[in-house]
């Protein structure tokens, strides 16, 4: 079955995007990325040491993946724009995940600043994937601003609390034309499967893999869960009902 994900002119077999933060070391991160079979890997430019190319994290990211630098640390559109330009100038390609986080307590994204950064960077030719608080109208504005996909959070970043924003994300999946990638909050493979069953185009997972007792095996589990969830979505989930619907009805003879 040909079920590729298309974003920014590229086609992907895997619908699991992974992050590179919070790992105990780069070797473990590399193995986890490999086992996840992910084809899109996000990396925070704030952690990349441009001055020391021999030491930096990029050396441990498999060559064949699409690198998606992110603007982690940016607290305004201007900072995000500068980080994106720096990433591109350092040879990290033209994909950029916009993260503009003004609040340092819950780390919730600032949708307005994110839209502003999206507009500027999309015009400059970046493939822009904005990370945002789930909100249909904000997502539409990001689409108009030139976003290539929308990345709503399932729950606050790093919380491993699952898809707490389910209703909002479902509305976005149903109403938006752009791919919806659930980013942040997914703590278990079953929750990644749930997002995929809902019809999300992909999920991005970092903390749940990086902070597992065995990150490499957990990466494998997420790969399988995302595939299972996608297959379930494509197969068409059965209807749900408030009442019991017996598969062999006892009163069928009355018809």
């Amino acid at each position: 079955m040909n079920d590729q994900l298309h974003i920014g002119g590229k086609a992907f077999e895997s619908r699991l995007f992974v992050g590179t933060g919070k790992f105990a070391d780069h070797k473990q991160m590399k193995e986890a990325i490999e086992q996840s079979r992910s084809e899109v890997v996000t990396v925070a430019l704030r952690r990349v040491d441009i001055r020391k190319p021999d030491e930096h994290i990029l050396n441990d990211i498999p060559q064949d993946v699409t690198l998606m630098p992110n603007t982690s640390g940016a607290r305004s559109a201007e900072e995000a724009i500068r980080i994106a330009r720096l990433a591109k100038a350092s040879g990290m390609g033209n994909w950029i995940k916009i993260e503009v986080i003004s609040d340092q307590k819950y780390l919730l994204p600032d949708n307005e600043e994110t839209t502003r950064a999206t507009e500027v960077l999309a015009k400059e030719g970046f493939v822009v994937l904005p990370y945002m608080s789930p909100d249909l109208m904000a997502a539409k504005r990001m689409q108009e601003a030139g976003a290539a996909a929308i990345m709503p959070l399932g729950a606050p970043i790093g919380s491993n609390r699952g898809i707490r924003m389910k209703e909002m994300i479902q509305i976005m999946i149903d109403e938006m034309e752009l791919p919806i990638i659930v980013d942040a909050g997914i703590g278990k493979p079953s929750e990644a499967a749930e997002a995929m069953e809902m019809g999300a185009s992909a999920v991005l997972v970092n903390t749940a893999i990086a902070t597992a007792d065995n990150p490499v095996e957990m990466a494998k589990a997420f790969d399988l869960a995302v595939k299972a969830g996608r297959l379930a979505y494509l197969s068409g989930l059965g209807p749900t009902s408030m009442r019991a619907n017996a598969s062999s009805p006892l009163t069928g003879f009355l018809k």
Partner: protein, 367 residues
């Protein structure tokens, strides 16, 4: 409205009595909770909580891994000047202590910067004695034209300044501010700061807020443990950090737990703060404020720092020199205090790796 108003409401509380009334059952209840209140935080700082340090450590460890991952940011202090106009009874830089003072020239700053950068350090904090003349905002901003070439993040720990001065510094690329209140007790504060502008308790207490308003990316606070009863000091520090985090959501708030170290004077801390006390303070803070950065300096011993790594710490200094010009010409000037952990940056990196932590050398980029 500033934290001072909040401080006014609580400063006269009979803390010793309140702490002593906490029971083990109260501690158990708090440890069962997902989100804890200010009064729960007080419970975790009580003598009764000393019987639950392992449970607290497990919880603090999990929260830290969840929020920050298995990472530890490394930084170094760079002492630019030891001129000071205050008399702080516990500090070697006090104006009363007679020794040849020194302030680095721009050329000397570059030499020190190179030496630090060669160790692989990307994050530094500039320190000075408290003298508006010798470590003015202009001098610090000028030093940034050199330091920018070598480091990806530069903070300051200098005399408190006005908001406009902090704005100048933010403009120059300085992104973090550290200011310790020293002691959250006005009477003791005046007793140990006998002369100089530092005697203004309120101006110092409001300093973190001026830094937040000026756009500092991170602001770090702390009490110098040993000057008053540590449980109360840590409780008020926690409330101060929470207040700042709520009011200035864009600023990352961090805390430190400096303990008084030997210095050139003959100051003896009035209150003993044991290793066990320090650990309890740190664990309680982590459980109360899971997102707050916690720094541990080379004031502490090698053995203790090794054990503190998994307990909530997110930033460590390494290979620190606390004297002006100390990275290239050690022992030529007076150190601010003696350091207890003299291991090199590479040794600390190896230790972190051995413990399953990633040493983070760079965590921000001057834009």
């Amino acid at each position: 409205m500033s934290f001072y108003e909040e401080f006014e409401k609580i400063k006269a509380e009979p803390f010793t009595e309140i702490f002593s009334e906490v029971t083990p059952q109260d501690v158990e209840k708090v440890l069962m909770k997902g989100r804890i209140s200010e009064s729960d935080y007080l419970v975790l700082l009580s003598p009764a909580a000393e019987g639950f340090l392992e449970e607290m450590a497990q919880k603090a460890h999990q929260l830290t891994i969840k929020q920050f991952g298995k990472t530890m940011q490394l930084f170094l202090p760079l002492y630019l000047s030891d001129y000071c106009v205050n008399t702080c009874t516990y500090c070697s830089f006090s104006i009363d202590n007679v020794f040849p003072r020194k302030r680095l020239t721009m050329e000397e700053i570059e030499v020190e910067a190179k030496a630090i950068a060669e160790m692989g350090i990307e994050h530094i904090i500039l320190l000075t004695g408290e003298s508006r003349i010798h470590s003015s905002a202009e001098y610090l901003a000028e030093s940034m034209s050199i330091l920018k070439k070598y480091f990806s993040s530069v903070g300051i720990e200098v005399q408190p300044m006005d908001q406009a001065e902090y704005e100048t510094l933010v403009q120059s690329g300085i992104d973090s501010l550290t200011v310790y209140q020293e002691v959250y007790n006005e009477a003791i504060y005046r007793e140990i700061h006998t002369k100089g502008p530092k005697r203004d308790f309120r101006y110092r207490l409001d300093t973190p807020e001026r830094g937040c308003r000026a756009g500092m990316r991170s602001v770090n606070i702390g009490a110098l443990l040993g000057l008053d009863e540590w449980r109360k000091e840590c409780f008020i520090t926690g409330l101060h950090a929470e207040y700042l985090q709520k009011k200035y959501m864009e600023t990352e708030i961090g805390v430190s737990f400096p303990r008084i170290r030997p210095n050139a004077g003959s100051f003896e801390p009035a209150f003993d703060v044991t290793d066990k006390n320090l650990v309890q303070a740190m664990l309680a803070m982590r459980i109360f404020l899971p997102r707050t950065g916690i720094t541990i300096s080379t004031r502490e011993t090698e053995e203790l720092r090794n054990q503190l790594i998994p307990l909530g710490v997110t930033k460590m200094s390494a290979a620190s020199s606390t004297e002006v010009g100390g990275y290239t010409k050690p022992k030529e000037t007076q150190s601010q205090f003696e350091i207890s952990d003299e291991r090199s940056v590479e040794e600390i990196r190896n230790l972190l790796r051995f413990k399953g932590y990633q040493p983070v050398m760079k965590d921000w980029q001057i834009l």
